[in-house]
């Protein structure tokens, strides 16, 4: 029987974020002996929130040094918890914090790691994971003989655990830190101003702008300012998250007209992100493979493109509107604004 450790870090509010509860739900689906391992300044409140999860024990590394998402301290804490738990399988949410350290922890423990896992299951009574290869182009189900096996579960793939709160008995794990662990200091987070933040992971809709927005239009001129207004108005009216094709963000490096609010962080696809949203609307983008691999986890897809034979038409979108996105989006914004004012 496997001893399954769920690794989680507590958030600024002292509790666990949704991805951690998803990892807990995934771990419970495998059976075995469940152990909870928590890291943060004070982990007791988080342990109490999940006291009813059926864990055989709760272990934690707590202290001010463990509030920072820093490789050296996180890796030391995770390795210590894994050893204290005697874990054979370790499941953690694939947050940026765990994504930074889990493979290093696997190396320390002499184990193996699988990241960006989208499902865990039992195959012939043993754990198996599902993950994608070649940037979401092919999906594999695999098992491993090596232990411990560390599994980083992508957020949004499993319904989060819900259950009784209570008072958890927490076993403290000591981690001796030296100056070498503190050569790095996290000094802050840099984020766009709230009104300029266009990446919204929880949005129901992903709006993707392609390079066509900055190209010459039917009148032989570019209309970048108009494009900027249409896109930003749409985002304001719908609360959608903004994505872009690589070609659009790379234009800045080529000295061409750019949409100033667009950065590499908005990029979707081969060298960008693969976000999860229920719906996606693509505009002025040709829908070729390197771009659309980033749409793997968008459920309903529509596209507006002047070319009815573009990549979207070849089984990648549910609906392709062969039309001028400038004209269509202007009307869309009018209708949305009218709807809002009612």
């Amino acid at each position: 029987m496997e001893t399954i450790l769920v690794l989680a870090h507590v958030e600024a509010d002292g509790l666990l974020a949704k991805p951690a509860l998803e990892a807990l739900a995934a771990a419970k689906s495998l059976g075995g002996t469940l152990v909870l391992g928590l890291i943060g300044a004070d982990v007791q409140p988080a342990a109490n929130k999940i006291a009813g999860c059926g864990a055989a024990k709760f272990v934690g590394v707590a202290g001010a040094d463990f509030t920072q998402a820093r490789y050296a301290t996180d890796a030391a804490a995770a390795a210590a918890i894994a050893k204290a738990a005697g874990a054979t399988v370790i499941i953690a949410p694939h947050t940026s914090r765990w994504g930074r350290v889990l493979a290093g922890v696997a190396q320390r423990l002499g184990g193996r790691v699988d990241t960006h896992v989208t499902a865990v299951s039992l195959v012939n009574g043993a754990p198996a994971v599902t993950r994608w290869y070649y940037r979401q182009r092919m999906e594999a189900v695999l098992q491993r003989v090596q232990r411990p096996w560390l599994i980083a579960l992508d957020p949004g793939c499993v319904a989060p655990w819900q259950g009784e709160t209570g008072t958890a008995t927490l076993e403290a794990v000591a981690v001796n830190l030296t100056d070498a662990h503190k050569r790095t200091t996290v000094t802050g987070v840099r984020a766009p101003k709230a009104e300029e933040q266009t990446i919204r992971p929880d949005a129901k809709l992903l709006f993707v702008a392609g390079a066509g927005w900055t190209k010459k239009q039917a009148d032989g001129q570019t209309h970048v300012e108009e494009a900027e207004k249409l896109i930003l108005d749409f985002l304001k009216l719908t609360g959608a998250s903004l994505g872009s094709s690589k070609s659009l963000v790379d234009i800045s490096g080529e000295g061409q007209a750019v949409l100033p609010f667009m950065t590499h962080l908005n990029q979707i696809g081969q060298t960008g992100s693969t976000p999860r949203h229920p719906k996606g609307l693509s505009t002025c983008c040709h829908g070729e493979e390197p771009h659309t691999v980033g749409w793997r986890f968008i459920n309903e897809r529509r596209a507006i493109s002047l070319d009815p034979n573009c990549g979207w038409a070849r089984g990648k979108a549910d609906v392709l509107y062969a039309a001028d996105a400038f004209q269509v989006m202007a009307k869309v914004n009018e209708l949305l604004a009218a709807k809002k004012s009612v």
């Binding site: 493979a103 696997a106 193996r112 098992q143 050569r183 984020a191 790379d250 800045s252 609906v319 039309a323």
Partner: protein, 269 residues
Amino acid sequence: MSIAYQIVVCGSIVPDPLQTLEPVSGHAGPALKNEMMLPAVLDPWVSHALFEAAHLAKSTPGSKVWLVSIAPKAKLQQVMMTIAQKAPFELVAVDGPSSGFTEAAEAAGTLADAIKAIPGLDMKRVLVFGGWESASRGAGATMQMVGERLGITDQFQGVDKLTVNADGSLEILERIEGGKHQVSKCAGPPAVLGWATGSLPEPPNNPQIGMANMRAIMPALQRAKPAKIAAEGVTFASVTLPKQLRETKIVKDAPPDEIAREIVAWVTG
């Protein structure tokens, strides 16, 4: 305080993103159909790491860049014809598979051994660069394991910017959730940086750099030792292409008003 960095960029080759990929089952596990025939490129995030490394080396006199790569050497040679024109570096080649279905831990062991064998490497000056995820395995695991094997515990992933401060410390911006960056200050080398897109454009081809690089690249390819990298202990139950091919409805010749109404109903529905 100025340090002459020794920047080791790790990275392999991947199929050109425009290629259609299809999995096949081989004797050693899954592979890509016609893998050796597919045109290849340097892994995109490795390219960014290489450009950032070259930029840093140029701005800090005495610095040097190595590119350590595990790939089938015939294909690596093809890719080098292009990439060698972009930035000055010394190639350390290992003749092995570049498949995404191989094991990160095994690749990391081979890479770490190749790095340790670089003559004159001084860990107090070493920065290990690479892509934060590959376009093949896409796990973001290899760089961390390489760092651990080299004893480097200052590691950063999804890096978009590196600034060397006046006191020699490093300010690093890493991607985190929600389109934000975590800002860290690291005392200095050694460190591992898995690069995302970085902040530099792709440099134009420079034939002079290409010729200078190729003089050393060809002997490096000839010296490339074979490495056995597989996926020991892994059983693939299945490897499949996505099943869902959508029945695309193409709406042509509809007025913008009508399309807009349909989109609004869908977005707000």
